[in-house]
């Protein structure tokens, strides 16, 4: 018996089966929000968001650990509803958008923590520095889009949060006056590809 051939065939079938079970979704930028909160001098939390991003994820509710997500955010799209502050955030003081036009997140593992909750750990690359970050995720729903113009496309929706220390990525300016800890909230919808 040719064991090598048998093993290769089994592996190929397994991978094909896994790929088939996990659907791929493209993140819908029109219905996805990436919002962050940062402490401002102890008075309040300043709220900002990113307006330009793209990404995709695979989702198989029956095999959560096999899911994956990739997200790319244009750092120049930072928006705090004030032009002068946004220009400052794009400068070398903070996001350094001219030198680092993108920040990326790529998952490395997914763990199920509850019936509709999970933890996605991945590598966040910001300002040329890559560090692991874990998102606490809630699965909202997966169903056909109800509006006719969407042609019954399957849509998956998630909510996620995380906290990170910006100084770990080299964004040290004005710490502690401007908070080091950044809270991030993602509300994501993905359209099945």
């Amino acid at each position: 018996m040719n064991w090598t051939k048998t093993l290769l065939t089994a592996a190929t079938l397994t991978l094909a089966g896994a790929a088939e079970a996990a659907d791929s979704f493209k993140i819908d930028p029109d219905h996805t929000n990436i919002v962050f909160f940062v402490n401002h001098l102890g008075y309040s939390s300043m709220i900002g968001q990113f307006q330009e991003f793209s990404g995709q994820f695979t989702f198989d509710p029956a095999a959560v650990e096999s899911n994956a997500v990739e997200l790319t955010v244009k750092t120049a799209s930072v928006d705090t509803d004030q032009q002068a502050r946004d220009d400052h955030l794009r400068s070398p003081d903070f996001f350094n958008a001219a030198e680092f036009p993108e920040m990326t997140f790529k998952s490395t593992s997914v763990a199920k923590t509850g019936d509709k909750t999970g933890a996605i750990t991945g590598d966040l690359t910001l300002l040329g520095v890559t560090k692991p970050v874990t998102l606490t995720v809630t699965f909202n729903q997966l169903m056909e889009h109800p509006l006719p113009q969407y042609n019954k496309v399957m849509v998956a929706g998630f909510s996620a949060t995380t906290k990170l220390s910006r100084s770990e990525f080299g964004m040290t300016q004005f710490v502690p006056y401007i908070g080091d800890e950044i809270e991030i909230i993602l509300e994501v919808e993905g359209l099945k590809m």
Binding site: Q83, A84, D87, H88, R90, S91, P92, D93, N96, A98, E99, F100, L127, G128, V129, S167, G170, T172, Q173, F174, V175, P176, Y177
Partner: protein
């Protein structure tokens, strides 16, 4: 002013530390190495203000300032130890800004040619070289006081241009360079007034302060699109102004020395103020 205040970290501490180290170098008979006090001021200011030593290799352009300042000081020291032959000195003044520009742009250029970016990089190199040559001539002609005035005027002008261009970090780094150079200038003034001796920055000081300034200028020109690049070009003229104008030399007594310093400051201030004015008009 508390220790966490960025102004304290970026300006006061480098000034005090730089002055202390410069005095110590004088006492141990190493006044020719006064430029190392400039280096110490720049590095300490960086570490305090940026909350630590940058990783190596540093991912961000502005973090390269730390290592470029060290490299420039080492280059100056090597040339000084080799007897500072003129050809080697000129080569160092050309090599330092070239190293700055190459290290700041190589990764971006790998991603694909960008003509505008290459042109800006070339202008920064040429301008930086002119700045260093001008600073060296100013130091040779007028000593540490004149050199410090040139660096302080250029750095303060840069700080305002950077602030108007929305980068307070670059502004504070410029403050550190001004403080570190100012420390050596203060000592130079004291030795001139009370010891009748005119010490200079030396090649180490010129290369360290000049390369630090060129690094900041490169980051502003290449990676801060909201800042005025034309204003930056005017700042190159600051050390060149002193060599071009040739202000009158007063007597070498206390009033004469003070008058020389005042004239040098006035001459250096003209292009710096012009740069600030241009940046103000260009700002949103």
């Amino acid at each position: 002013m508390d220790a966490a205040n960025p102004l304290f970290q970026a300006i006061i501490v480098p000034l005090v530390l730089g002055l202390a180290l410069a005095i110590m170098l004088q006492v141990v008979g190493r006044k020719g190495w006064g430029g190392l006090a400039v280096l110490a001021g720049i590095l300490v200011g960086y570490v305090l203000f940026k909350h630590g030593v940058p990783s190596f290799p540093p991912p961000q352009a502005i973090e390269k300032l730390f290592y470029l300042a060290i490299g420039a000081a080492l280059l100056g020291l090597i040339v000084e130890l080799a007897g500072a032959p003129p050809a080697l000195e000129r080569a160092a003044l050309v090599l330092a800004p070239a190293a700055v520009v190459l290290w700041l742009v190589w990764r971006r250029l790998i991603g694909g040619p960008d003509l505008e970016f290459i042109v800006i990089a070339a202008v920064v190199w040429l301008g930086g070289t002119a700045f260093l040559f001008g600073l060296r001539e100013t130091d040779k002609a007028g000593g540490a006081v004149s050199a410090a005035i040139a660096v302080v005027a250029a750095a303060i002008g840069f700080a305002i241009v950077a602030h108007l261009g929305r980068s307070d970090t670059l502004a504070l780094h410029a403050g550190t360079v001004a403080a570190a150079a100012g420390a050596l200038g203060l000592l130079g003034l004291a030795t001139q007034l009370f010891a009748g001796r005119r010490d200079g920055f030396g090649l180490i000081g010129v290369l360290t302060a000049g390369t630090a300034f060129v690094t900041l200028a490169a980051v502003l020109a290449l990676y801060t699109p909201t800042a005025s690049r034309w204003a930056l070009l005017l700042l190159i003229l600051v050390p060149l102004a002193g060599t071009a104008v040739r202000p009158p030399r007063f007597q070498k007594n206390i009033p004469g020395t003070a008058a020389n310093a005042a004239v040098a400051a006035l001459v250096a201030a003209i292009p710096a103020l012009a740069a600030v004015g241009l940046a103000y008009l260009a700002a949103d």
